[in-house]
């Protein structure tokens, strides 16, 4: 079954076409990569899927439910979570609380119960805390649980973002340049982690990335974007030899 189906998606910013007629299908338990030169519209595509920007035309559906016009928080609640190219953690929340925020939709108590410290609140909070701690230790972050995100190194912040995205227990995970700013060792760690998560959680993942080692190693399908248009689609080995792709990346010979 298709996890995500994007058909003929377009978006213009003041006459500049950021995404034009993009179509893709994401199958269950697969890792898909979206690559392309800077400014090709990759991040815009994520922003369209997650409802950050309104779609100009086209359709997006998630497990058969249309999500094209839904607000971001509803799309997240349905089971799509994401990370950001420029890390967006909550500065004034501890590492532990950052992870907890993603679980908010799954907590069952009302504002009234919170105000009077009703017993359910304590119970649910305990459950949330345990889960959040398990995700932190999964990513080797448990000893930082009480610190604030800006005290963490770049690599750790990336991991924290990933932990937070997984805390919501998504069915589809969108990763926006997860390897940006990581050193080679960290990139290999990331590859292992992603493959492990994908297998353990039976998760579908879409990755926007420049880092070819990462993309070629873990993606089953690649989509190549250039100037908002898809110029190629296929398995990594095929894409590597594709003329149009080479041109887009390296420029015309002659």
């Amino acid at each position: 079954m298709e996890v995500l189906k994007v058909s003929d998606l377009s978006k213009n910013f003041g006459g500049v076409s950021a995404v034009a007629g993009f179509t893709m299908e994401q199958r269950e338990d697969e890792i898909t990569g979206i690559i392309g030169p800077n400014g090709a519209g990759k991040t815009t595509l994520f922003n369209l899927i997650t409802g950050v920007y309104p779609v100009d035309s086209g359709k997006i559906s998630f497990y058969g439910t249309e999500i094209t016009r839904l607000p971001s928080h509803k799309i997240t609640a349905l089971g799509i979570t994401r990370t950001f190219q420029n890390i967006r953690l909550f500065r004034n929340l501890t590492v532990l609380d950052n992870v907890k925020t993603a679980y908010g939709v799954k907590i069952h108590y009302t504002v009234w119960e919170e105000m009077v410290r009703y017993p359910t609140v304590k119970k649910e909070e305990k459950k949330t805390e345990e889960l959040a701690r398990s995700y932190l230790s999964y990513f080797g972050l448990e000893k930082y649980s009480k610190s604030y995100p800006y005290n963490l190194s770049y690599g750790l912040q990336r991991r924290l973002e990933l932990a937070r995205a997984l805390m919501a227990n998504p069915r589809l995970l969108l990763l926006d340049e997860p390897a940006a700013g990581l050193n080679p060792k960290e990139v290999r760690q990331l590859i292992d982690t992603l493959l492990k998560i994908q297998e353990e959680k039976k998760l579908s993942i879409i990755i926007v990335e420049h880092h070819m080692e990462l993309v070629m190693n873990i993606c089953t399908t690649l989509h190549v974007l250039n100037f908002g248009r898809k110029i190629a689609e296929g398995e990594p080995e095929v894409i590597q030899k594709n003329e149009a792709v080479l041109q887009a990346y390296l420029g015309d010979e002659a």
């Binding site: 607000p71 004034n92 925020t101 009077v116």
Partner: protein, 284 residues
């Protein structure tokens, strides 16, 4: 003695208003210059209900809270979709609008003459109990999902909505709750000071609430309360330096924003539990 009691009463009244502002500005990062409007709405609703409609005192107070929440809801519908500076301007306009309306609805509000002859039904115990209760409510909210979500919204609205937080609905809840607390403070004010007029709380006073929240520390309810008590009682005790009070506040704001951008108290919170644990360790 009576003087000190009076000072404490007024200081405590203002502290209720600071708590209302804390919820909005401190926790959620909404800068409202319209808090004064809600103070007036609370004060006038309670006073008119009590004096003109002869409703019993508790009902008058309850009506003030309801009126505050209702107006908060109505004002919130269009304004909460606006971003920082626009929100600030619209709430500023709202506060001044309330002032103008109270001046011109003279038949009901007494116009510029205000409403006099309100009996003094509220004393220090009631105000202090109110502070305790409101502090309990806000700190309960701060420690659970509600607080986390509010801080997330303050830090990064976009990321918050992508964590599944309905930003608009959360802002609305905060706005209504803050308006209710502020209107309640206004209602108490009427029954403590015994006289209200349209200029009792202008936008400058609303701005002070925000400044106090920031100086105390946006992440600390304790900080907001202590700063509020120091600021408002300082002014009463040092009447002779009255003009300098604002200069001192300004200097404090400058020093805090330059050297301690998280506010004086940072994210420190007073907690009975911690004190018990600490004293227990000391004994054993």
């Amino acid at each position: 003695m009576e003087f000190y009691l009076k000072v404490l009463e007024i200081t405590s009244l203002y502290t209720i208003l600071v708590l209302g502002a804390y919820l909005m500005t401190g926790l959620t990062g909404l800068f409202s210059l319209g808090q004064g409007g809600f103070v007036s709405i609370g004060a006038y609703t309670a006073a008119i209900a009590f004096l003109h409609f002869h409703l019993p005192f508790p009902v008058a107070i309850l009506l003030a809270i309801l009126m505050g929440s209702l107006v908060g809801f109505l004002i919130g519908i269009p304004t909460l979709r606006l971003h920082r500076d626009y929100f600030l301007l619209v709430t500023f306009g709202f506060g001044e609008m309330v002032r103008a309306a109270l001046l011109h609805l003279a038949q009901l509000t007494g116009g510029a003459l205000g409403i006099a002859g309100i009996p003094q039904l509220v004393g220090l115990p009631m105000i202090l109990i109110s502070i305790l209760l409101i502090t309990f409510l806000i700190s309960s909210l701060k420690g659970t999902r509600f607080g986390r979500n509010c801080i997330a919204i303050r830090d990064d609205e976009l990321a918050a909505s992508l964590m599944g937080i309905n930003v608009y609905s959360y802002k609305m809840k905060v706005f209504i709750l803050s308006s209710a607390i502020t209107a309640y403070g206004g209602a108490l004010y009427a029954f403590v000071i015994m006289f209200i007029e349209p200029n009792l709380f202008n936008w400058l006073e609303s701005a002070k609430l925000i400044v106090i929240t920031f100086v105390g520390g946006v992440n600390s309810i304790t900080g907001a309360i202590i700063t509020s008590v120091v600021y408002y009682s300082f002014g009463e005790f040092f009447r002779f330096v009255d003009v300098w009070r604002d200069v001192l506040l300004a200097v404090a704001v400058l020093i805090v924003t330059i050297f301690r951008s998280g506010g004086i108290f940072g994210s420190w919170e007073f907690s009975l539990k911690k004190i018990f644990r600490w004293s227990g360790k000391g004994i054993s």
